[in-house]
């Protein structure tokens, strides 16, 4: 029974493929479609729900209700506001699509498409459950980052084709930020690749699937894994343009950044791509550091593997929302300083710590040495970057 539940989607797919009505020539395409379409639907729906949850959660963080009005049309049923994303979708679809006269029309049209395609491509290598990886590539992690890097091109396409100084500035900022943070993002994953010895996402999850007693062997429960996870999450926030790194858009400085000249559904596509990028990179974080689809405790393994993957994914999405509700935005120079002066050295030190962890014998000594290797530079770098400045409570001479 548990096995059936665990493999329910695979079994369903094979059952549908087994229907005699399909001609044999159509079967490979159908198999591909049966893998892709449900994934696209699930993550598009998750995007819709995440926007509402995010607004509600940030509302609660600020002691507000958040959206709680839109429900079923023509009735008093409100669904606690969860009809909001459908209303927003209808609004985005029916809005006028304005293309500036000076814009490069072809590139302007292609930019949102070129953004959404690589974002969806990144989903093809994530293991959603046991045997539930759309494409089990030998270089899955590499493919993920290759697809992720392609989004930068479309961001610049959008900024350039709009022929608007704000959108160009926004695109410049986005490119600078994404390229800077891609370095610590990838370097922090290198530790995992080193330890597992494979770029395949399936192998990385399998390497974490053991238990010692009840406790799992997730990478996050090692010094280098914890540091890598934190670095990865910070870089992921910057990569997906999430607050506190949402510099590419800034109402007071460059309005909406690189998608200022987009309206209607093209705007919604940028929004969708931003969230889908966040989900994809969260999914990769789950795969690399949080054990993918494995259960957090050995006796919970009877629950379906895909349930664990999505539970962890939702936990990371809530972490993104929580951080967005807490941290104020950075300035552009602070953003760059943080990437190159703090994230990059820490990620490089983390590689050395992971290497040492691999060669030292298991035991308390290994823990102590590797933790010290990470904590000492963390404290020193933190102090050094403060530059001797002491931040105390601000006092006002006149306004009290």
């Amino acid at each position: 029974m548990t096995d059936v539940l665990d493999q329910i989607f695979i079994l369903l797919k094979h059952w549908v493929l087994g229907w005699p009505c399909w001609p044999d020539s159509l079967r490979p395409i159908l198999s591909v479609l049966l893998s892709i379409v449900p994934l696209m639907l699930v993550f598009a729906l998750l995007f819709g729900i995440a926007t509402v949850v995010e607004r509600k959660a940030i509302g609660r963080i600020q002691n507000r209700y958040g959206p709680n009005r839109v429900g079923l049309p023509f009735t008093d049923i409100r669904l606690a506001g969860f009809g909001q994303f459908i209303a927003d979708g209808i609004k985005a679809l029916t809005k006028e699509d304005i293309v500036p006269r000076a814009a490069d029309k072809v590139v302007h049209f292609l930019a949102p498409v070129a953004l959404i395609v690589p974002v969806f491509l990144a989903y093809s290598v994530l293991p959603y459950g046991r045997n539930m990886t759309p494409i089990d590539m030998d270089a899955g992690v590499l493919f993920f980052f290759a697809a992720g890097a392609a989004t930068e091109l479309s961001v610049f396409m959008a900024g350039w084709a709009s022929r608007n100084k704000y959108s160009l500035l926004g695109a410049m900022r986005a490119i600078a930020q994404m390229i800077s943070y891609e370095v610590p993002l990838i370097i922090s994953t290198i530790t995992v690749v080193m330890m597992v010895g494979s770029l395949s996402t399936v192998k990385i999850v399998e390497a974490q699937a053991d238990y010692s007693g009840q406790l799992p062997h997730w990478h996050v429960f090692t010094p280098w894994g914890l540091a890598g996870f934190i670095l990865f999450m910070i870089a992921a926030m910057a990569e997906s343009n999430r607050s506190p790194f949402d510099l590419p858009e800034g109402e007071s400085e460059i309005v909406a950044g690189y998608f200022i000249e987009y309206s209607g559904f093209k705007f919604a596509l940028f929004f969708l791509a931003e969230y889908l990028g966040m989900f994809a990179v969260s999914g990769l974080a789950v795969t690399l550091f949080l054990g993918g689809w494995t259960a957090p405790l050995a006796f919970l393994s009877w629950l379906p593997s895909w349930l664990w993957f999505f539970a962890k994914l939702l936990a990371l999405i809530s972490l993104f929302i929580w951080v967005r509700g807490t941290v104020p935005r950075l300035r552009m120079d602070q953003l760059m300083n943080f990437a190159w002066k703090f994230m990059l050295p820490m990620a490089l030190i983390n590689i050395a710590a992971a290497g040492l962890w691999f060669f030292l014998p298991a035991g308390f000594d290994r823990w102590a040495v590797c933790s010290a290797m990470l904590i000492v530079p963390y404290v020193l770098l933190g102090r050094g970057l403060m530059g001797g400045k002491l931040f105390t409570k601000r006092t006002y001479r006149y306004a009290e």
């Binding site: 600020q62 209700y65 951080v323």
Partner: protein, 205 residues
């Protein structure tokens, strides 16, 4: 240490998040159409016409003096005076407005009409749900829509209305006393005239 502030901030936002579900007084939002705050005593938006008694049109205090029409800065009031007269609250015959229109899309709620009115006939209302699908006629209020009872006025602005009522009552009492005194004096004079022979001319001193 680096990151300390972020941990503190995350704890604070988590406390707010959980607290908003536990403590009801954290959520200060009033969910408007279902929940409403009581209007403040000094609240005002658009003017209305006060009437006494039961008949809204017969009881209007307005005497169509047109002072408010002339004083109104955005000129949103239009008044047409009647040809005939009707008795006012003290019984004196007065004109009344045949047409009294206020365009609330023009009105700027300055209350100058209220301040210049010598008859306490125009006051500020607190009604604010006045949106309409017709932005011309739907927002042009005639005297039937504008007429509201003195009881309504007492309800929305109790202190101000009590003062106005006291002043009007005092004025009415004064007028009544005066008419009574006049009538008495007249009666006395008439009685004296009939009873006594015409008095001899008083010698000048």
């Amino acid at each position: 240490m680096l990151g300390e502030g972020i941990i503190k901030g995350l704890a604070e936002t988590a406390r707010n998040f959980v607290g908003s579900y536990v403590e009801a007084d954290r959520l200060t939002t009033v969910q408007y159409p279902e929940e409403r705050l009581p209007t403040k005593e000094a609240a005002r938006n658009f003017p209305f016409l006060v009437f006494d008694g039961n008949d809204a049109q017969a009881g209007l205090r307005c005497v169509a003096c047109q002072i408010c029409e002339k004083e109104c800065p955005p000129q949103c009031i239009y008044i047409e005076k009647s040809k005939d007269k009707k008795p006012d609250y003290v019984g004196k015959p007065q004109f009344y407005p045949k047409i009294f229109d206020i365009d609330i899309s023009v009105c700027m709620s300055c209350q100058i009409c209220v301040e210049v009115c010598p008859f306490e006939a125009i006051k500020m209302d607190t009604e604010f749900e006045l949106s309409h699908t017709d932005r011309f006629d739907g927002l042009l209020f005639d005297k039937h829509q504008l007429a509201k009872s003195n009881e309504y006025y007492q309800k929305i602005h109790p202190a101000e209305a009590a003062e106005v009522d006291a002043r009007l009552a005092a004025e009415k009492a004064k007028v009544e006393a005066k008419t009574k005194a006049d009538a008495e004096a007249k009666a006395k004079a008439a009685a004296a005239k009939t009873a006594a022979p015409p008095p001899a001319p008083v010698p000048s001193t």
